[in-house]
Assembly symmetry: C2
Homo-oligomer: 310 residues x 2
């Protein structure tokens, strides 16, 4: 191990808010290919394309991130919501990326490994583009615990399946634990935004991140299940008592990588069902569609407010 | 825990080759919604749609799995390679699914969590459709170790980042280890196929599965890197000595879930670069495209041979 790399938890100096790239090898590379974006420093003028970015909104589904850019274009009076916005990552189908003004919208697929690929390349992209003061907002869907379906959860802490606020990574075959602490002020600002909107219920709570959707979230409806309904209820109740209000699959990586790179980050997920009541989504298509708009509306309102305050 | 669920490693009885659903709760459900496929038992006639499936080919990229169905349609004389085949999962953008005759082609995104969602729903789909004698083949891309780029690796054992053939899962907050043993005979048959094809180099070797593409695979070009080039070479050399010939991000979940459900499974990945030589993909677009066709060609030849032998 190289000495001088032990300050992983540094990334908190907000005086300048640059993007921290903690990799001395990167400066020695003649070219950096952001493979999963189909972009690169030798083939694209990244400062010209992305230098003005202030907000990056990320979510699992490519079509949701496309509709978000149309929505935000309308909200910010920067374009028509019915216009087509080109996919900047055309040429690869790993991720989709759209931009309007200072807002970037990117899909990240499902699960920690998928979002971690996207965030490595996003952090390098923002670094190469010399962006400063960037806020990253994850807008997603989740299963709720003890909440009415449709409630929006702003994450206080992202915790693992044992309710600990950490991301376990294996680097060179060895376990490394990273903090998943998020920005309290940003979470509180988002909650205030939601109160002003007064359109749907929003709470601040812990978010549990799992590596599996079925057994990992104590569902009874996967291909395999070796526990009882009582075991499931016991586990979810324990989670609730640890402050967990919703469950998804990307938040630990999101929080850890924001913290490491000095990006202000927040996670805003709507709950599609109450897991204490069931495992499958029984709401109507229209109802689910309406729920999925809520994080977009909240984050859109927040961005508009921040830009108008400048 | 319910008693009678301790025979997780059973799944090996090949006399009938049914799909093992190890979940007593499933039979009690009136309806099963395969949410990420946008399919369900109450809304779709799954036996009519999928009852004849004998081969399921899976891979990360939706467009690659679409082009695979066009290719296999031509190979099996079941359709024109230039025809459009409808996406059976239209209505969701989580996964894409295509079918021609007895062959199903499905995308699974990147990483263990993403493929595990897909496999839970695939195993339930095959069960609901009453399929028997199904073989699942993962066709993917990977980084090679000590191999010429373009070499195809058929996986002998899928190992984790410590070179152990196991998948660690967290169920109800507790660690569960599952075997990632694959079918030796199937791997050998695929190797024989490749010898007859004589079109590109193919080897059998261990495949390392990681939860991260950059730090998890000892790359020097991520947003974060706290180790040296020598550390990297040391780790990859250790992997090579443990029989690892390529690295990807889905094989442990694929192997464990095939084994648990009694599905015959094989993993066929092309290596896009030699990780001992570098981290970034420097081959031309055409060269990379040619490489990515190789697993498709090998698996296509195998399926054709198997169907002609019936």
């Amino acid at each position: 191990m190289t000495p001088g790399f032990n300050d992983e938890q540094r990334g908190g100096d907000k005086s300048l808010n640059p993007i921290y790239i903690k990799n001395p090898h990167l400066d020695l590379m003649k070219e950096d290919i952001l493979y999963h974006f189909n972009l690169g420093t030798a083939t694209h003028d990244l400062p010209a394309m992305f230098g003005d970015v202030k907000f990056v909104c990320v979510g699992g589904s490519p079509s949701r991130m496309k509709s978000f850019i149309q929505f935000i274009a309308g909200e910010l009076n920067l374009g028509n919501p019915t216009d087509e916005y080109p996919n900047i990552c055309a040429g690869t189908d790993r991720f989709s990326m759209f931009k309007v003004g200072p807002v970037l919208s990117i899909s990240h697929g499902m699960g920690v490994p998928s979002i971690s690929i996207m965030l490595h390349e996003l952090i390098k992209l923002l670094h190469h583009a010399r962006c400063i003061d960037v806020t990253v907002l994850r807008i997603g869907t989740s299963g709720g615990i003890g909440l009415k379906p449709g409630t929006v959860v702003i994450t206080r802490q992202s915790v693992d399946a044992s309710f600990v606020p950490q991301l376990e990574q294996i680097i060179l075959g060895k376990k490394v634990l990273r903090s998943t602490e998020l920005d309290d002020t940003l979470a509180e600002e988002l909650l205030q935004c939601s109160k002003q909107l007064n359109d749907f219920e929003t709470v601040i709570g812990n978010t549990m991140c799992t590596l599996d959707f079925y057994e990992g979230q104590a569902r009874l409806d996967g291909a395999f299940c070796s526990y009882t309904e009582a075991d499931k209820q016991g586990y979810l109740t324990e989670a609730y008592q640890a402050g967990v209000r919703n469950i998804e699959m990307e938040s630990t990586a999101f929080a850890a990588m924001c913290k490491l790179s000095g990006l202000q980050g927040a996670i805003v997920c709507v709950t599609l069902l109450d897991r204490l009541e069931g495992d499958q989504l029984t709401s109507s298509h229209d109802q689910l569609h309406d729920y999925q708009l809520r994080p977009q509306i909240l984050v859109g309102t927040y961005i508009k407010k921040k830009l108008n305050a400048v």
